[in-house]
């Protein structure tokens, strides 16, 4: 059975791109979220194997969402998606419970490697 992924990003563009990359490698996208609040709700509802999480989103940012999700499920596997220049935030996200990170613009091979690390 393919492993399931919840994709969280406020840009449809980015969600489409991440979904395409992951689907091409055999993962199943079971949900998408546009805000931190949605990400938490979708996580609780769908219980995905993996979450990809943008840092800057309206409503609630990705780091706060990571905190909430790991409070709910300590084993949640979350991969941060950050832009260049956000290294400090990535550190904060890892401290909050994220397992790894990739930097935009995405290199498909890097994304897949990171996903395999997080799931492995």
């Amino acid at each position: 059975m393919p492993q399931s992924v919840l994709v969280c990003d406020d840009a449809i563009f980015m969600r489409t791109m991440i979904s395409d990359i992951l689907q091409q490698s055999g993962y199943e996208i079971i949900g998408e979220a546009e805000t931190g609040v949605q990400a938490i709700a979708k996580y609780k509802e769908l219980r995905p194997d993996l979450v990809t999480m943008d840092i800057v989103m309206p409503d609630m940012g990705g780091i706060d969402a990571v905190r909430e999700i790991t409070r709910f499920d300590a084993n949640a596997r979350i991969l941060m998606c950050s832009a260049m220049g956000q290294q400090a935030l990535v550190v904060e996200a890892i401290q909050a419970g994220a397992k790894d990170f990739v930097v935009k613009p995405f290199q498909p091979s890097r994304v897949i490697e990171a996903v395999q690390r997080v799931l492995g």
Binding site: D10, A11, V56, M60, A88, L89, K104, P105, P108
Partner: protein, 535 residues
């Protein structure tokens, strides 16, 4: 760097539409920031928009866009941390950056990257940011911005290329025509099964048509969202202080209609700022609040959408307009006053605006003229109310959809012409005995009223016929009535209006064309031009 291993062309459309949304949001936030320079929410929203566009553009390999948004981020960071103040200069720079960014976004997608002169704006942003582009976590934590969660609703939406929607609409139109033809062919055959099947097909096509029309509807905010910025810029350059309030942004119009109506509304808004609104000093003198109020309202009525632009400016000076109109013979020399309707007619008269007597209207004539013709071409109407010292209101009434019109089929010299029902009041038999001539023109007595007559045969450029014309259609628009004489009336039906390029040099009395049930093409008569022609 662009991402290898992914077909980027597929993402270009997505990038464009999403970036446009964010650019609109940036303009909204900048206007908010200008009104409340110390508010944190607009800065957070601006940062988010710039950040999102940056992320997307980097993935697409659009370097210019990525650089501008990066510069914006750096400046906004400093505003957020309190190191920079959102003063007038800074906000102007941000507005300027948003404009360059918009250009860069559009150009990038067209493929000609590097054509946008982005270096000056990046230099300006960099100097504002003063070389401190490092982002710290405290600064970046995103606060919530109310009103920016409209895309977060649960409904699932799909983006479709608008050309595909147009071609689907065309196909549905063809289907309607084919149905009418099939109905005609099956007429007179006694076959219950065939009849039932035809009826069901007809119902389904009607449903399909309704759904199709619905799918083309978009909220007017799609176009209205950029107007506050337009008004702000116009007010700035005119040395005035004006706030635009928009109401009814959720009202829906056919996308094609909305595309057409945007420019006329910009005309009206600009006119209101340039000519309607007084300077802050003049407003204070006449006891008005210094900030002028401009309202743009959309209202859905039963069978029309009304768009209203109203200002609380100085209003039109009727006496001066009347004096000029008399001079130029636009009204009778004896006219003592102008009704609202006459006022609009006079102001919209081509060239009227050049009259230097009416300084506050300079330039207005051109705009109103354009607005009037555009709205009429869409099957709508324009009204204007103005009160000296209190302000002016211009009201546009539009059909919510473009594509389908209920029309009467009239025949002249063996050809069928269509008249939109919305402009036909009644039809009467032509009684040759009731036709009189007044100052060389034909008129007819209709229940004690004198109705000017027009012959469609002549209007379409055919010689007068020996054969007796039989029917008069009483057509009306904006208080003007006339009787249109045709050979015979064949019926009525819903017709799908096809885009139509009028022959050059010909009388502009047709607004479109359609294909009838029997496959023959037919022209749709533009009643408004026809009446204007006569006047």
């Amino acid at each position: 760097m662009a991402v290898p291993g992914i077909d980027l062309a597929r993402y270009a459309e997505l990038f464009l539409s999403e970036s446009r949304e964010h650019l609109a949001a940036m303009n909204r936030s900048l206007l908010e920031l200008e009104r409340a320079p110390s508010a944190p929410e607009p800065v957070a929203a601006l940062f988010r928009a710039a950040h999102t566009i940056k992320g997307m553009s980097a993935s697409m390999g659009y370097t210019a866009v990525a650089e501008i948004t990066h510069g914006l981020e750096s400046v906004l960071e400093r505003v957020r941390s309190g190191a920079l103040q959102a003063n007038r200069d800074l906000i102007d720079a941000l507005f300027g950056a948003a404009d360059v960014l918009e250009l860069a976004v559009e150009r990038s997608v067209q493929g000609g990257s590097g054509e946008v002169e982005s270096a000056p704006i990046i230099a300006r942003l960099t100097s504002l940011a003063n070389g401190t582009p490092v982002v710290s976590p405290e600064q970046l934590r995103v606060t919530s911005a109310p009103g920016d969660d409209r895309r977060a609703t649960g409904r699932r939406e799909v983006r479709i290329d608008s050309r595909r929607l147009d071609s689907l609409m065309n196909l549905v139109g063809e289907l309607v025509i084919a149905r009418d033809r099939a109905v005609q062919l099956s007429r007179g055959r006694v076959d219950t099964a065939l009849e039932e099947s035809m009826e069901q097909t007809g119902r389904l096509i009607t449903q399909l048509q309704t759904e199709m029309l619905q799918s083309r509807m978009v909220p007017v905010s799609r176009v209205f969202d950029r107007f506050p910025r337009v008004v702000r810029d116009a007010a700035r350059s005119a040395g005035k202080d004006v706030v635009l309030e928009v109401e009814g942004g959720e009202i829906e119009l056919d996308r094609a209609m909305l595309d057409e109506i945007g420019e006329p509304i910009v005309h009206l808004l600009r006119n209101a700022v340039d000519h309607g609104m007084e300077t802050p000093a003049a407003r204070a003198e006449s006891g008005k609040p210094p900030v002028g109020r401009l309202r743009l309202t959309a209202i859905r009525e039963r069978s029309a959408v009304t768009i209203r632009v109203s200002d609380d400016g100085r209003g039109v000076d009727r006496e001066r307009v009347l004096a000029t109109a008399r001079e130029r013979g636009l009204v009778e020399a004896s006219a003592a006053e102008l009704s609202d309707e006459e006022l609009l007619r006079v102001i919209a008269h081509p060239g009227f605006s050049t009259a230097d007597v009416v300084t506050e209207l300079s330039g207005r004539g051109v705009g109103v003229d354009v607005v009037l013709s555009r709205v009429r071409a869409l099957g709508g109407s324009v009204h204007m109310q103005s009160e000296k010292g209190r302000g002016t209101t211009v009201t546009l009434r539009l059909p919510p959809t473009l594509a389908i019109v209920r029309a009467l089929l009239a025949r002249v010299a063996g050809e069928t012409y269509l008249l939109p029902m919305s402009h036909v009041c009644e039809t009467v038999q032509l009684d040759p005995a009731a036709v009189k001539r007044v100052t060389g023109r034909e008129v007819m007595l209709l229940r004690d009223d004198v109705l000017p007559l027009m012959r469609l045969r002549e209007a379409v450029g055919l010689p007068a016929a020996s054969r007796q014309a039989s029917t008069v259609l009483v057509i009306e628009h904006g208080g003007h009535r006339a009787g249109l004489v045709v050979d015979e009336l064949v019926g009525q039906q819903d017709v799908v209006v096809k885009p139509f390029d009028a022959a050059r040099g010909g009388a502009p009395i047709f607004s479109g064309a359609t294909i009838l049930g029997d496959g023959a093409p037919a022209l749709i008569v533009d009643v408004v031009s026809l009446l204007a022609h006569r006047a």
